[in-house]
């Protein structure tokens, strides 16, 4: 089962059972401070493994359409490589970054639960 602590702990998709399990040791999330024109800003990245590239692509297309509610101060980029969904945030303030990451994790969890209950995807 995918759980909300996937952001901070270790895990990986179980490719044999096709279940979204997070049990391998690996780094998922990293936050770094950087400087741009003398101003500090935060970057956060998150990798989410899926059982297949198909499911990763579905998650990407479900999670991409809605823009950040806030106009400035944060940007978010979603990409898929193979069966991994990758996120990159760039934010001016930790507070804004935290709100965006928390909300994204709520959304991701709902998409994953939907896939578990109503998947697997039909063949195209």
């Amino acid at each position: 089962m995918a759980t909300a602590n996937m952001a901070s702990t270790d895990g990986g998709a179980n490719h044999e059972t096709g279940k979204l399990e997070f049990n391998e040791k690996r780094e998922f999330q990293r936050t770094v401070f950087s400087r741009r024109d003398g101003d500090w800003f935060l970057q956060n990245s998150l990798d989410v493994p899926f059982p297949s590239s198909r499911e990763a692509a579905i998650a990407l297309r479900s999670l991409s359409p809605d823009r950040e509610p806030r106009k400035g101060g944060i940007s978010k980029e979603l990409t898929v490589s193979g069966s991994t969904l990758s996120l990159r945030w760039s934010a001016d303030e930790a507070r804004i970054l935290r709100v965006s990451v928390n909300s994204f994790l709520d959304h991701l969890l709902l998409v994953v639960e939907t896939m578990e209950m109503f998947g697997p995807p039909v063949s195209p």
Binding site: R61, L63, P69, H107, F118, P121
Partner: protein, 335 residues
């Protein structure tokens, strides 16, 4: 045969309904109920919806006796409404549409109410009064648009009622409006309140401020009872709604009125509208709480009409929007 599943969750109700060619196969719903004196906040409402949406979806399929493969199109509320709850519902709709390999369709919530009302009552071309917690509009169809003849210039009538209920701590279970309606039946003394019709438009915020200010004083001094206030507020705001509806009918030469939206299941509003309709020789159409109050089937029904007329929404265009006026939608399914 065309089967459409509809996802609705723009406010504190989450509903999923399935429609097959005008027949409601299932329409389960859950309501997020807050304690007396409290409204529902977007993030708490979204959390409620996230917790129950998959159970409601399972129920909708089971009650309809359908498998995902039987569905032709997945419709969801694109807006208007509260952002966080709208996103929650859209996420699940997008995901199942992809899992099941079905087209997606973003529906205007207000259009959902109108099309559901037309389906249930068989009203052909009515003047529509759309009254709920978030919207108050008088609408008539013309030239491929549902045109807004009159509307609130500030808060919705349902919002006025809900917030009055909070002031005097009326229960939100099953809904503040229902409880006000029951209490109003026991009211007898009419307390005069501001009556604010401005041309074809109405205003409720001044009435709310007035009654918020006066309620505790009048109640503690024994000038009137809570029941009297419920009665007086209903009589005042419903009279305003009947007045602008009648004026819209005169403009359009219409002989039909359809009441939709959550406030539309208030029997006193229906009764007052009926009196006006009788005087004009017009016919009133209304539905009960199953279809008046936000539900999934109404999104499925509007989606059914849209899908049959050839519309679909691409995933990249499936973003939700908090503001989405009724007259922005081109009605491709009516002459």
């Amino acid at each position: 045969m065309t089967v459409v599943i509809g996802f609705e969750g723009s406010a504190n109700k989450i509903g999923i309904g399935i429609i097959r060619d005008g027949e409601v196969l299932s329409n389960p719903r859950r309501t997020y109920i807050t304690p007396p004196g409290q409204g529902f906040m977007p993030s708490d409402t979204a959390r409620h919806h996230r917790a129950v949406i998959l159970t409601v979806l399972k129920e909708a399929l089971e009650q309809a006796g359908l498998k995902p493969a039987d569905i032709d199109c997945v419709a969801y509320t694109k807006g208007p409404g509260m952002g966080a709850p709208l996103v929650t519902v859209a996420l699940v709709a997008r995901t199942v549409a992809q899992l099941w390999g079905k087209p997606l369709l973003g529906v205007n919530h207000c259009i959902g109410h109108i099309e559901m009302g037309r389906l249930i009552t068989k009203a052909n071309n009515p003047t529509v009064l759309y009254v709920s917690g978030g919207n108050t509009q008088v609408i008539a169809y013309s030239e491929r648009r549902y045109r807004i003849f009159g509307e609130t210039i500030d808060i919705a009538v349902g919002n006025c009622l809900d917030r009055f209920a909070r002031v005097i701590k009326i229960s939100n279970d099953p809904s503040p409006g229902y409880n006000i309606e029951q209490m109003a039946k026991k009211g007898s003394h009419y307390v005069e309140l501001p009556y604010t019709v401005k041309g074809m438009d109405v205003s409720f915020s001044g009435i709310l401020s007035y009654i918020e200010e006066a309620a505790h004083k009048m109640l503690s001094s024994g000038q009137c009872t809570a029941e009297d206030l419920c009665f007086s507020l209903q009589e005042t705001v419903f009279s305003m709604l009947v007045e602008i509806t009648e004026r819209a009918m005169a403009h359009c030469g219409s002989q039909e009125v359809l009441i939709v939206g959550g406030v539309g299941c208030n029997l006193r509003l229906q009764e007052m509208m009926e009196v006006m309709c009788k005087e004009r020789g017009a016919k009133l159409f209304a539905t009960d709480e199953r279809f008046c109050i936000d539900n999934g089937a109404m999104i499925a029904q509007a989606g059914w009409e849209m899908f049959r007329s050839g519309q679909v929404t691409e995933l990249e265009d499936s973003w939700i929007t908090q503001r989405y006026r009724t007259d922005e939608v081109e009605v491709t399914w009516r002459d």
